[in-house]
Symmetry: C2
């Protein structure tokens, strides 16, 4: 495990099990965004007997304790990442699926504006659009194709 996570768990009376440590470590080592299945796969690399339901339960707990952040980046993209001191926001490219990060200071007047106009206190935001490369290419580009962004429709119509 590492730093305060261990302490937080124990101080709150939760047990420090190897499964929890493994999930946490996988999350830290990856650095980026991981889905539950991915996390489970990484954990099972070393301990094949760890069950996916345990991973789900552990993630739920870690999110509840504020140690991990859960972000929904699209239809079926529910990712987890270690909660950092300085929270960041996400930019999801419709073209290549890439995920970029943005910090509060680069949000422009968004936070203040929403608070002023709607009384809305922003915690986190996710934006969809095209990254520099895809925008330049005038469309999709890259390795990770997004779901609904191909060239032509694949439906009916002769």
């Amino acid at each position: 495990m590492s730093h305060h996570a261990t302490r937080t768990l124990q101080e709150l009376g939760y047990r420090l099990t190897p499964q929890r440590t493994l999930v946490w470590d996988a999350l830290r080592e990856a650095g980026g965004h991981l889905g539950a299945e991915e996390i489970c796969a990484r954990v099972q690399t070393r301990f094949p007997n760890v069950n996916i339901s345990t991973v789900y339960r552990t993630l739920e707990l870690l999110v509840e304790l504020g140690l991990v952040r859960e972000t929904v980046l699209g239809s079926d993209r529910r990712y987890y990442e270690v909660e950092e001191e300085v929270p960041h926001h996400h930019l999801v490219c419709d073209g290549c699926g890439r995920v970029l990060h943005v910090h509060n200071e680069d949000l422009g007047g968004l936070t203040a504006g929403l608070l002023r106009n709607q009384g809305f206190r922003l915690r986190e935001m996710t934006a969809f659009g095209y990254c520099r490369e895809c925008a330049a290419a005038g469309g999709p580009h890259g390795d990770r194709a997004a779901d609904g962004a191909e060239g032509g429709g694949d439906h009916a119509h002769p």
Copy 2:
């Protein structure tokens, strides 16, 4: 159905079936955000034999043609709404689940800022946080409780 939707479908060679008309009408009448199940329920109010898979297929088509917009507002909140001329963005309240709308001009310098700093061309964004009422109440409030925002943890620990 209504206005250009009918035309768009037909011009592109798609058939104008009663099911498609019903889904479209349900979406227009509701005005707000509807999930696939909800749309299906509304349609079935008048035509009980319309199948949910047809609703899914119709939504997929309408989204593909740009007539309907699909927005993911959280873990399992995949909503649909008629695509408007002036696109808007969403603010989801972590407290009551309410969904507010924001237009481009109220985004502050976000669009320009992201383009300048990251070369990211914003199409749509969703922000999570607390609405005026919930923020004022210092926490959750309202009828539609959000998933992970209750008062105390319901996990273990004696």
